[in-house]
């Protein structure tokens, strides 16, 4: 099992989410974060005060995958989050020792598969096939 943490542009989030769902990764946790990468600074003006915004708004997505899903997950993020400009973000992959589902007490791989994983994945693939953006 691996914990995959990725930092992406907020405006790429719909594409990343759709790609992850199509790859069968349906359990994800989002947070809004601010970060400093290699991007150019942004300037804001308030009357006499000029502010240099050194931190840029990003979205952090965390998901835990069983081994067969790790590579598809990484590929899904790479294909959907990349714009080619500085600031596209990062993917971090770390080992996970144990996973426990609170509702049932299931552990590890049994705890990782969402009950509606197949339905979510099917819907995402259908949406993509019909030309839907999400």
């Amino acid at each position: 099992m691996k914990l995959i943490t990725t930092i992406v542009r907020p405006d790429r989030l719909p594409e990343v989410k759709a790609a992850l769902f199509r790859a069968g990764i349906t359990g994800i946790t989002l947070s809004r974060v601010s970060g400093h990468g290699g991007e150019h600074e942004r300037f804001e003006q308030y009357r006499g005060t000029a502010l240099v915004m050194e931190f840029h708004e990003k979205v952090k997505i965390e998901m835990v995958c069983s081994e067969p899903f790790v590579e598809p997950c990484v590929q899904a993020i790479l294909s959907s989050a990349r714009t080619g400009e500085v600031g596209d973000g990062k993917i971090f992959v770390q080992p996970i020792e144990q996973v426990i589902r609170i509702r049932t007490g299931d552990v590890d791989n049994a705890a990782l598969t969402a009950v509606n994983a197949d339905a979510v994945q099917r819907a995402a693939i259908n949406a993509a096939g019909m030309g839907g953006a999400v």
Binding site: E44, Y46, G48, G105, D106, V107, A110
Partner: protein, 445 residues
């Protein structure tokens, strides 16, 4: 006029204008509140809102009497304390067509907003109790005498022929100069120029600026104290100057930074309104256009200079009200003409250069009284109950430290996690969902 009669039209307009000016103080609360940081939003808005109460009471009890009742050339008398002897009959000294009580209420709204304007310079660092004492003392010792000098029967600046239609000296210069002194006396916020300090809610600033513009029609056009041609002139001039200043400010923004900012537009329109206030009933609309544009240019420059100094006039009250107010007062001496208002005066362009001297005298007298008075009042407060918030109070934010409230409670995990527990006993919050029993785990695959 010996036998004065009440005009229903004039009275209706002045009463409505009074309500307009009251709304300006609420607008000011939004304008200032949006410009500070979230942890000080309530305190900043309260500095305006509480003036509605404190100065409203002060005005009724003593303020109106000191400012307007018959007295000498420096102070009014005490015969109108508690609004006694202020009746429903017109008083020809001030207006022969509206009840004197309507005049008292209209003027009271001016007395309320003026000290509230000062608060913008001292936000995020003044103790609220000290501020309330400041409100009472400033209104009584500075605003009321000044209003008497300029508008009161027998006031010495009135006798000199100083032109101040709706309060350029009494309201804006006095507030602006006092703001400068107060900002200097209290010292900068502890993190001023160390961390970026940006407005936390620009939409609130725009809402406030809009309410100020709306209310200013009562402020200026209402100062005609009648529903007549003079009121219409003041209305037109008010709108013209605000619009010209907005356009000028936006143009300067564009030149300097390449973008037109919302805070800039809001500031610019207010500056135009400040600039036209002393001139509104004395100049032509074309002159109003120029006054608005000039006031915006000067004020814009003043803000750029101020922001490079250590002087923490946090919301630039001096640059907006003091500088633009002085510009407006002097420009009144340039553009005033009896063609538009025979009861007014002629300025430089109408061949009366001496008017500028009179205007300058009024400005200097206002600056002196406001600066020295504010310094004395703040020194007294600092020596007794304390004016400046201490470091922990400032770090926690004045909303929590002064009011025990938060503007945006529950917007972070604190609200979600239920960190609060009711102390009163009347509100009982209990967990309404029992934790479900954990089923026996199925064997792992």
């Amino acid at each position: 006029m010996t036998q004065a009669t009440v005009s229903s039209g004039d009275t209706a307009w002045v009463l409505v204008s009074s309500a307009f000016v009251l709304l300006m103080t609420v607008g000011l609360a939004f304008f200032y509140g949006g410009l500070v940081r979230p942890k000080n939003a309530l305190n900043t808005m309260m500095m305006s809102m509480v003036a509605l109460g404190v100065v409203g009471v002060q005005w009724m009890l003593v303020g109106y009497s000191i400012a307007f009742s018959p007295g000498n050339s420096w102070l009014g008398g005490l015969s109108w304390l508690g609004l006694q002897n202020v009746g429903l009959e017109p008083n020809p000294t001030y207006s022969s067509t509206i009840p004197l009580q309507a005049h008292a209420m209209f003027q009271g709204m001016f007395a309320i907003i003026t000290p509230a304007l000062i608060s913008g310079a001292i936000v995020e660092r003044m103790r609220f109790r000290g501020y309330i004492v400041f409100l009472v003392l400033w209104a009584t010792l500075i605003y009321d005498p000044l209003a008497h000098w300029v508008w009161g029967s027998g006031g010495w600046l009135l006798k000199r022929g100083a032109l101040d239609f709706a309060g350029g000296t009494v309201v804006h210069i006095s507030a602006g100069v006092s703001a400068l002194v107060a900002a200097w006396f209290l010292g900068p916020r502890r993190d001023y120029r160390r961390v970026p300090i940006a407005p936390h809610n620009v939409p609130l600033v725009l809402l406030g600026a809009g309410l100020l513009w709306f209310g200013w029609f009562g402020f200026n056009a209402g100062s005609a104290l009648a529903a007549n041609g003079l009121a219409a002139l003041a209305f037109v001039n008010t709108n013209t100057a605000a619009a010209a200043a907005l356009v000028t400010w936006a143009g300067l923004d564009l030149l300097r930074t390449g973008k037109i900012t919302a805070v800039g537009v809001a500031t610019g329109l207010v500056v135009g309104l400040v600039g036209i206030t002393p001139a509104a009933g004395y100049v032509t609309p074309m002159a109003a256009l120029l006054i608005g544009a000039i006031a915006a240019g000067i004020s814009y420059t003043a803000i750029q200079i101020r922001s490079r100094t250590k002087l923490d006039d946090a919301l630039d009250v001096f640059s907006c009200h003091g500088v633009a107010g002085i510009a407006g007062a002097l420009l009144t001496g340039v553009f005033a003409t009896k063609i538009v208002n025979p009861a007014g005066g002629d300025g430089l362009l109408a061949g009366n250069a001496a008017q500028i001297g009179v205007q300058l005298l009024a400005v200097l007298a206002t600056v002196a009284l406001a600066a020295l008075g504010t310094l004395g009042i703040l020194a007294l407060i600092q020596a007794t109950i304390g004016a400046r918030a201490d470091v922990p109070e400032e770090i926690a934010g004045l909303d929590l430290s002064q009011h025990g409230e938060e503007a945006y409670f529950g917007t972070d995990l604190g609200g979600l996690a239920g960190t609060g527990t009711s102390l009163g006993g009347s509100v009982v919050v209990e967990a309404f969902v029992e934790a479900a029993p954990v089923p026996a785990p199925e064997p792992a695959v």
